[in-house]
């Protein structure tokens, strides 16, 4: 099938100071991924096209971009699922550096702000392991699946407008440890997230849940953190 591909281009270093779109007609299979189309353009038509990609199998979370207006991983979405007219743009809410590459620092700053690591200074009972029941592990299982692609955070309309909001991904990262029975810093995280840039800025638009390529129930995780703070 012939795919009409429209790609966002921005490269101030090469004089493309004003964002514009380049268009290509690419021959593709319906089972090709959008990433394959981008590889075709970069490899055979225009080597200056820039985007992040690493594993290309939906694990590393590098190639989150807006495909036909929705945040997706280019390596996970198939041509047959988005049609023969495809528009590829960078994710919203973060400064665009070049083409599909955005500055992820604000995203990682929010991530770091919620202490996304296990805090426990006690010596385990047996000196080796901190045991956990299957039920205790299940409590935060969903939020362990996050690959930090930023698809959720950059689909959030509150994050677009408010740079102080930590965003859904940071709440997911906090959720993963808040509800971990082995962790001891849940209260510190809840305190951070109860502040004015925390979970109460969420307006439950559900964009994050829809955008997550790992199918994490992001809005539910945010609601559970809200409940943990207010209960």
């Amino acid at each position: 099938m012939l795919v009409y591909l429209k790609i966002y281009r921005y490269n101030p270093e090469a004089g493309r100071n004003v964002p514009s779109y380049d268009t290509y007609n690419i021959e593709a299979e319906p089972t090709d991924r959008v990433l394959d189309l981008l590889e075709e353009v970069k490899g055979h038509i225009d080597g200056t096209l820039s985007y992040r990609r690493s594993c290309a199998h939906g694990v590393c979370g590098s190639d989150a971009m807006r495909i036909n207006g929705r945040n997706m991983l280019a390596c996970k979405v198939l041509v047959k699922d988005v049609g023969s007219e495809i528009t590829v743009e960078p994710i919203l809410g973060l400064p665009v550096l070049k083409d599909m590459i955005v500055d992820m620092e604000p995203f990682f700053d929010s991530y770091k702000a919620v202490m996304p690591f296990l805090v426990n200074d006690d010596i385990p009972a047996d000196g080796k392991e901190r045991l956990q029941s299957p039920e205790q592990r299940e409590r935060f299982d969903d939020t362990t699946k996050c690959i930090m692609c930023a698809a959720c955070t950059t689909s959030c309309p509150v994050f677009w407008a408010d740079d102080q909001y930590v965003g859904p991904a940071a709440v997911v990262a906090a959720h993963r440890f808040i509800f971990d029975s082995r962790d001891q810093a849940g209260d510190d995280r809840l305190k951070i997230l109860s502040d004015h840039g925390g979970v109460f800025r969420c307006r439950t638009a559900f964009n994050c849940t829809e955008a997550c390529p790992r199918e994490i129930h992001v809005t539910q995780a945010i609601a559970e953190v809200k409940q943990a703070i207010t209960s």
Binding site: V158, A161, D162, G186, S194, D195, H196, I229, T230
Partner: protein, 126 residues
């Protein structure tokens, strides 16, 4: 598990919870208001005598005050959230929040005074 311990509620947490509780209350308050005025009484039957009769009853005055205060609070809280998309400074946000809270208080008080004062049909020339 650390989440068992109590976290001192922030203003955001208190406001969020207040919106949830008052939102639940608003559902019966607003729907019964609509049902009473539009279905049982009918908008064409509402006149100054009806309003005066209604506001003579303390229960209706309290009902209308609650409806006004809660509904207006939700509008003001929404306005506060929207304003935060345009105002990013911490001090400016606090000032806007106080302004909105003050506006809510003043309008709710004016409404309460009007409801308590009731209607006086004798002042209306038929």
């Amino acid at each position: 598990m650390t989440t068992q311990a109590k976290v001192k509620p922030s203003f955001e947490a208190i406001a969020w919870r207040a919106m949830r509780y008052s939102g639940i209350l608003l559902i019966p308050l607003a729907w019964f208001h609509v049902y009473l005025q539009d279905v049982i009484v009918g908008v064409h039957a509402i006149d100054i005598d009806y309003v005066a009769l209604r506001l003579d009853m303390v229960a209706w005055v309290v009902y209308d005050m609650a409806l006004l205060a809660f509904a207006f609070a939700h509008g003001m809280y929404g306005l506060r959230q929207v304003s935060f998309e345009f105002i990013h400074g911490e001090r400016a946000r606090r000032n806007v929040s106080l302004l909105i809270l003050g506006l809510w208080l003043v309008v709710s008080l004016i409404g309460a005074v009007a409801l308590i004062g009731g209607a006086r049909p004798e002042l209306i020339s038929h």
